[in-house]
Symmetry: C2
Subunit: 442 residues, 2 copies
């Protein structure tokens, strides 16, 4: 077997202008060879480009995913009692859903082995948010991960080095070779990690809009179809919701600020959009895990888990088990703020026509919520409180945003971006639905 022949097979020729499906042994030859350093990066990057142009079938993407996840170790959850259901979001601004969702799902009787990522560019990261809780550790060993799942039904940690090394190598290469925006490659990257962590069923939040990775609803749907089709080909149950990320989610963008809002959701006092999305995902997770027959029954179960206080209880237990200081957390809530503070008020009467999630996310990077490069640190107390949303009526002088920066200098450029993000109107705009579509492969 020669790498060049496999590249040409995927690339195509006059007889097969769109290339041919690669076999498992061909994909193994290339991916395993690449991880071992036997196949050079200059042969992998044109293969990725050929995949960008010619795509991959769902079953072929499933094989790629499987080969990738077998490139490293997987989390062994044997001996624990499932059902193991996890959730993944393609990333957005103000998207803290995972944090209240995991304890709610656990309270409904599911096991959630959650491995999350960090903030990058305009999007936030679950790990950065969790680490804003004093003491909270996101570098759990596999045995701690298992132990905490056993105790509280969920654990939240970062991906270990041993998990899917092929994805780390491939992602770094895609990043510098113009091959990031490929649906099958994105699918294999996401799914390989989620399957490696032990999930049997998965719910996906595939976001589209200015603050999302996918700018158009069509692209988000293509990715959702690919995640569902590929996951199905791998024997997993998949639900993908297409959700709107033109506006930021909830009332906060930040690290500790979003922990606070997550706790509000767990207390039954969260913003309506975050609450709706959290319950809907919990409802689907209950269905996928076989706990309820319908999503509505699952949502009712989730509401009960909140109303009974059980979800909050599990969250606080998890904080403690992962090293967090629960007393300090409760004392910090709604009081711990950066001292670099700026307020943006409305200059007119009227309505909020929109708040651009992308620009708000970029403002967050300036403030210290996120980072441009993976080696930059974030500020736990930086962020933005959003007091009004699209469609809300405002009066001149109303405080629309509270802005908290990592330092004094960060406030000015962030404020400029936030002002650009805000558009007002004399007429009340129509509200847009948050959940656009549900794509299922059960």
């Amino acid at each position: 077997m020669r790498a060049v022949d496999i590249i040409v097979k995927k690339r195509g020729n006059p007889l097969f202008p769109h290339g041919e499906e690669l076999t498992r042994s061909e994909i193994e030859f290339l991916i395993n060879g690449y991880v071992k350093g036997e196949i050079p990066d200059y042969q992998i990057s044109p293969l990725l480009m050929a995949i960008y142009f010619n795509g991959m079938s769902f079953s072929e993407t499933g094989v790629l995913t499987d080969v990738m996840l077998n490139s490293g170790s997987t989390i062994d959850l044997s001996g624990l009692y499932g059902p193991f259901v996890d959730k993944h979001s393609t990333g957005g601004v103000g998207d803290k859903i995972s944090i209240p969702l995991a304890p709610i799902a656990a309270a409904c009787g599911l096991k959630v082995p959650m491995m999350s990522g960090r903030a990058l560019g305009h999007t936030g990261g679950t790990l950065d948010k969790l680490e804003s809780i004093t003491g909270y550790r996101t570098d759990l060993s596999v045995s701690d991960f298992r132990r905490i799942i056993e105790k509280t039904g969920f654990a939240m940690t970062g991906q270990t080095k041993e998990i899917v090394p092929a994805d780390r190598l491939l992602y770094a290469l895609r990043d510098v070779t113009g091959t990031v925006e490929s649906i099958p490659l994105i699918t294999a990257s996401i799914l390989s990690k989620k399957v490696a962590e032990g999930a049997e069923a998965l719910v996906f939040d595939v976001k589209y809009g200015s603050g999302a990775f996918m700018k158009s609803q069509e692209d988000a749907e293509r990715l959702a179809q690919s995640l569902a089709g590929t996951g199905h080909a791998m024997g997993k149950k998949i639900v993908a919701l297409i959700t709107d990320m033109n506006e930021p989610l909830g009332n906060t963008v930040g690290n500790f600020l979003e922990i606070e809002e997550s706790m509000d959701v767990l207390a039954g006092k969260g913003p309506s959009d975050v609450t709706e999305l959290t319950y809907t995902f919990a409802g689907w997770m209950a269905v996928l895990g076989g706990i309820t027959e319908t999503v509505d029954e699952g949502k009712i179960l989730a509401e009960k888990a909140v109303a009974s206080g059980r979800a909050m209880e599990l969250f606080m237990e998890n904080v403690q088990l992962q090293g967090g200081d629960t007393e300090k957390l409760l004392a910090d809530k709604n009081t711990r703020r950066s001292s670099y503070h700026h307020v943006l008020t409305s200059s007119q009467d009227g309505f909020i026509a929109g708040i651009d999630a992308y620009k708000l996310g970029l403002a967050g990077v300036h403030l210290g919520v996120g980072r441009n490069r993976t080696d930059e640190s974030v500020d736990p107390d930086a962020g933005i409180i959003i007091h009004f949303h699209k469609g809300d009526s405002i009066k001149k002088g109303d405080i629309i945003f509270d802005i908290f920066g990592k330092n004094e200098e960060s406030l000015e450029p962030a404020a400029v971006l936030i002002e650009q993000a805000l558009t007002c109107s004399d007429r009340q705009p129509e509200k847009t639905p948050l959940i656009i579509k549900e794509i299922t492969a059960l």
Copy 2:
């Protein structure tokens, strides 16, 4: 400027699904950076793959060609009197046209600065053929190249290391990354070398068929159009002939065997197909060089150059100037043969329906005419004499092929391939035309 952004520009996005034309500064950034070792191969190979899929305009290909040729030194022919016109063939089996053509064109008053290549795969190489003349050197210094052109009107040498280093690097990379079969990349590779050697006008033999690089007439035409369009964009006069390479050219496939046949053409006794092609190219070269008004006038001039003996005289002078032993050459002609000899005879009465050029070329590799890897050596005396051609009537027992091998063991596998190459028929097949189309950019 970042390499990844240029790759993405060529690759395209939802707004520009077929990518955008790259600017001169972008192409310079990548190609010059690659030659200097500043841009890694893993970023060049996906760019080449994006070019494979999205193509390049003629002017863009012209800029790539220009940047490539400026990556090294060019041959300075200043002080010599032109017109400098050269010929290039995309390669075939039995294709010795360049060898008689150069002295004929020189005898017509043209200057031919010819840099040729070596045999690879099933196709032969002009340099290997020339080196079968005892003593003949194809590693001329630039000053010898100039001096010999000045004396005999033409010189034939290999490409020096200083000429278009970008092409050597890019070709080696394309070879292992599935990006060889790209019309703009092939165009830039061919043209950069031909322009670097000092040619002002160029004739191309773009072959198609089993023994050619381009298997279909359509692909050959696309390449011819690209060579003409790109050459025109660079201010060169270009003529490309589409010619049939389903059958081998002439009566010989080999190194010294093809020198002999070239001398037959120069003596006015060559096979009709080789003679026709040589005169047609000479005719076009005369037109491009401004020596004659029409191709027919140019062909008459070429015929006169042969009839007068002037072309042969220039050939023998050139052999001497390039270190060849002319006395030995004349003594060797028609006598010097490998002692490993095998004869293939007809097993039936009938007609030759076809001789597959590709299989005959592969047989040549076994015999030692060509090579599979660039570091293999060739045998000057190996080869095949073809006594009958497509459409010829044969009788049982007729000798159809004389086969000469580098050793005894080489004969058997070659004979098997040659037998496979030959098809016979009860009915006389129609002759196919040799020159299918002329594509000009004057």
